[in-house]
């Protein structure tokens, strides 16, 4: 047979299998991470982790109850800042947009989304920590909240846009004002998508460490209110991982296991809901 043809076919098979190998490698990494974390973190997880405060160095046991509460507080504050702003901004782009200004907003949103999270930390530091002269949960929550705005805005816009034009026209044909149509018809039709978008945004900032290092800082005790340094799960993982104590490493694995489980569960749920909705819409 033609040597040239054989060579082409060989190249075909070789290169195509190589792309398969690439895929296996990429997906394999995920399973490796999951497996290792479950094996290493799951086994060292105990009830104390959720209920006890960190113990002093050298004393075994203890948990990260304060960090779990701290993370929840930071996320609450971030949601209060990021979700209304992002959502309403998304409504503007989807319903009132279409001008040069909205393309500027869209482009800036994507750029803000790509700003390294540590730079966001510096921003919150200069805004809150520098004038107040102390680290606080407030500063951390604001840093995370600002990061949530672009994510929420873009996903809200996309889901609002996916609502068929006919629904808006029908509402307005019945005499509804634009606002009434958007509030009573368009937003309810897109609410599942918007909610999942917000969940994904939360899952994303829940794992952020860098912006908290010098805003919320950390704390080995409970920190009531918003004006004190506050512990959070990601920062605890970091400080425990780079410390030289065996027991702390074990705790870091437990914390990583808890954090990753939360993040992945939210992601899986959100994507399942999204794909189901997508099928309905078609």
């Amino acid at each position: 047979m033609n040597v040239h043809l054989i060579r082409r076919k060989a190249v075909n098979v070789a290169m195509l299998s190589l792309t398969g190998v690439c895929t296996v490698l990429a997906v394999g990494v995920l399973f490796f991470i999951l497996g290792y974390l479950v094996w290493n973190g799951g086994t060292s997880l105990s009830w104390n982790f959720f209920t006890k405060l960190p113990t002093p160095v050298g004393e075994a046991g203890g948990g990260m109850a304060n960090a779990i509460v701290g993370s929840a507080k930071l996320l609450l504050l971030a949601t209060l800042i990021g979700v209304p702003t992002g959502f309403l901004g998304g409504v503007y782009l989807a319903e009132f947009g279409g001008t040069v200004f909205s393309s500027i907003v869209r482009y800036t949103t994507d750029l803000l989304n790509g700003v390294p999270s540590i730079v966001m930390g510096i921003f919150a530091y200069t805004l809150i920590v520098l004038p107040q002269r102390h680290f606080s949960a407030l500063a951390g929550g604001i840093a995370l909240g600002i990061m949530m705005i672009p994510i929420t805005l873009r996903s809200s816009e996309e889901f609002l846009r996916a609502v068929p034009m006919a629904l808006r026209e029908a509402a307005m044909a019945l005499g509804a004002s634009k606002t009434t149509a958007v509030v009573t018809v368009v937003i309810p039709a897109a609410i599942h998508g918007i909610a999942t978008g917000i969940m994904l945004a939360l899952a994303r900032v829940a794992g952020e460490t860098a912006p908290l290092l010098f805003t919320a800082f950390s704390n080995r005790f409970w920190s009531p209110g918003w004006r004190q340094p506050t512990a959070s799960l990601p920062v605890m993982i970091y400080t425990y991982a780079i410390a030289p104590y065996e027991d702390w490493h074990r705790q870091a694995w437990s914390a990583a296991f808890v954090l990753l489980s939360l993040v992945l569960i939210v992601n899986i749920l959100a994507r399942v809901i999204l794909s189901r909705n997508r099928h309905v819409r078609r």
Partner: protein, 326 residues
């Protein structure tokens, strides 16, 4: 009779722009417009404010060192001498290494998912890969310290045996190094390259493939010579996006790079990156000049990622018709 029924109704019907300002205000339209506009504008405002704060708070360092800040090797907080070169070097080297490893792997996997795998399997695998993108970076750092660094350390004899003739792989090796940071970064950015490139490849019209196959090209030839060039800009966009992520990545890099502000030709030597030095030294920065120098590093990082992201979004926008591809 009939006209008297119709006319008042049509007069009452809101006619879009034709309605008076007062009517729109009463219906809530003006209020809703202003409120949502303010929220949308806040994005632009926050971005500008962010840039302004970085600029303002780095003034001390910018005035003290000028442009030489970017080209000076000394980072000596005690003597008040601050030069960003070791950090810029570390950031660029680790990101370049990450791209070198991640681009072939990511583009290869994207080709498999878009061109070869049956749609169901492709969607399922893309789902898993998106989950990989959602793993927090501190967890990558944790795995980096406790798994990858030991693996690299045990691979040292083999590495030096195979590649030791290159200056890149010489000198003592402690595990934490530019190499370790590059590998962790590569693992972290691969999912971005895969999911965006896959989307871009799927957006290539199928008559391109069919035409290539019809004139006798093999599957690989149609993919590599026709489909990939068609999607080239979008793939480049995904690579730029991944690059911006790698440049700004903080936690995972901080945990494995070694945190030593030196410039060494060897990838096996420890280094330091811009994000890592900010993360490590910000809370202990005593003195205004020190803090201001760290904020100037933040400004450099911001400018770098801003430009690269801008290019990436433009490239993706021109191929898929939309700027976001996450």
């Amino acid at each position: 009779m009939s006209s008297s029924l119709v006319t008042p109704a049509s007069a009452r019907l809101p006619q879009g722009r034709a309605r008076s300002f007062r009517e729109r205000l009463k219906a809530g339209d003006e209020a809703a417009y202003v409120l949502t506009l303010a929220c949308a504008a806040s994005i632009v405002l926050v971005t500008a404010w962010l840039a302004f704060e970085l600029w303002k708070n780095s003034a001390l360092s910018r005035h003290a060192f000028g442009w030489s800040f970017l080209f000076t090797k000394t980072w000596d907080p005690v003597a008040g001498q601050f030069g960003a070169l070791p950090f810029i070097y570390g950031t660029l080297v680790t990101s370049a290494l990450a791209l070198l490893l991640a681009v072939p792997l990511g583009v290869g996997a994207a080709i498999f998912l878009a061109e070869l795998a049956p749609p169901r399997i492709s969607d399922a695998l893309a789902f898993l890969i998106e989950l990989l993108a959602a793993v927090p970076s501190v967890i990558f750092g944790l795995l980096g310290i406790f798994i990858m660094v030991p693996i690299l350390r045990s691979a040292e004899p083999w590495l030096k045996g195979a590649l030791g003739f290159l200056p890149l792989f010489q000198g003592p090796f402690y595990g934490v190094s530019l190499l370790a940071a590059g590998v962790v970064l590569a693992i972290m950015i691969v999912p971005f390259i895969i999911s965006i490139s896959r989307e871009v490849l799927l957006a290539v019209p199928s008559d391109q493939r069919e035409a290539a196959l019809a004139v006798g090209a093999t599957r690989w030839e149609s993919t590599w010579d026709i489909v990939v060039p068609f999607a080239r800009k979008g793939i480049m966009g995904s690579i730029f996006l991944a690059l911006a992520r790698a440049l700004g990545e903080t936690m995972a890099v901080t945990m494995v790079i070694g945190n030593d502000p030196k410039i060494s030709a060897s990838l096996l030597a420890p280094g330091y990156s811009i994000a890592a030095v900010i993360a490590n030294e910000f809370t202990e920065a005593t003195g205004d000049l020190y803090l201001s120098a760290l904020i100037e590093l933040g400004l450099v990082l911001f400018a770098l990622t801003f430009v690269i992201n801008g290019v990436a979004r433009l490239l993706i926008l021109t191929t898929t018709g939309r700027g976001t591809a996450q």
